[in-house]
Symmetry: C2
Subunit: 210 residues, 2 copies
């Protein structure tokens, strides 16, 4: 790992989409695909797709295209999805529960090991089959259990502080749903999810492309 040449962030963003389409094609029983077919399913141009896949040495064969399982495997490897990851969810509100359930149901390589909250009535209860622990001990828990990723489903006001404590515990990545950007995390990778960005793109299309 860590041996790849650095791939442009726009390409990294497109890889999970390729993966989804490849899984779809595989589920439909197909063994090979072409940049033209991928283009039709995914909406990027065929030349864009060829260029993206060339980035990490996946050259389709002229007239034969790509072997789906090999390509899927390679993208999985590049995205780091051959590894297993330990996750904790911080914030046991509806969104925290929803994300925990979603991850358990659809993302087998991510293992949610604990939930955290700061509300006395939640601490000690069981949510999504997991114990709810006291948020105060988050740093210690991460460090002791080698947690890889913390999912933050907490109010914006406390997000940065919780993020710093996760960092102190040795977290590797933050999947942040708090309605604020987490900043200054140094080596800790951060994905700030902005749910409403896509709602706002939707209103653009509704308003402008009738």
């Amino acid at each position: 790992m860590g041996k790849e040449a650095k791939i442009a962030s726009a390409v990294v963003r497109r890889l999970p989409k390729y993966l989804r389409i490849l899984e779809e094609l595989e589920a439909e029983g197909q063994q090979r695909t072409s940049s033209a077919e991928l283009s039709e399913r995914i909406g990027f141009t065929a030349s864009q797709i060829r260029q993206d896949l060339n980035n990490f040495g996946c050259f389709g064969q002229q007239g034969y295209g790509y072997a789906i399982s090999e390509l899927r495997d390679e993208i999985n490897r590049i995205l780091g999805l051959k590894e297993k990851y330990k996750l904790i969810v911080v914030g046991c509100g509806r969104l925290g529960e929803a994300i925990a359930n979603y991850t358990k149901a659809f993302e087998p390589q991510f293992d949610i090991v604990a939930m955290f909250d700061n509300a006395p009535n939640k601490i000690g209860s069981v949510v999504c089959g997991l114990p709810v622990l006291d948020e105060r001990w988050i740093r210690e828990y991460i460090s002791k259990n080698n947690v890889d990723i913390a999912v933050l489903t907490i109010p914006a006001e406390v997000a940065q502080d919780v993020a710093y404590r996760c960092k102190d515990g040795g977290i590797k990545g933050l999947w942040n749903f708090a309605v604020t950007d987490i900043k200054d995390m140094g080596n800790v990778k951060v994905e700030n999810m902005h749910l409403s960005d896509s709602l706002r793109a939707l209103t653009y299309y509704i308003t402008n492309e009738k």
Copy 2:
């Protein structure tokens, strides 16, 4: 409305990000900004930003930059956020509730008018202060109440069928959280949300950029 030249989809995707940063700067009491400052906050290059904003006639003045409130206002207009939208949420599980709460709390121009479910024990109850209606009547409800957008937080297996019924009712857009792409919607605009795409980008960065 509908008078804009068609803007490339990649630019449309970036506009909500500009909007967030502009709102942030405004909240910090700033009145003007530059492509260099925007670049630092948002991570795109300054020339990319100038090019994006030129797309819809927002020319910064050399040495003066952009007036924040004007630019915010213009992006709001382009994204269609000067309008109000009526939303329904289909699927009253945790994710449906979480998205309804999120939208009510942070997106004042979106008015959630009803929740829908097909479970007898949910129909007739009140969720997020809204009546839960029988999913069977979704088409009629949309048509009678001029609903603009349906948020789908339902299982993948039923999503396409519900989408078609929303379309028959005259829906304009679908904000889809079901774990499947909604297809073939013709004039109906669809945003397929893939929560795990960002989780998978996160594992890329954790694995490859230490």
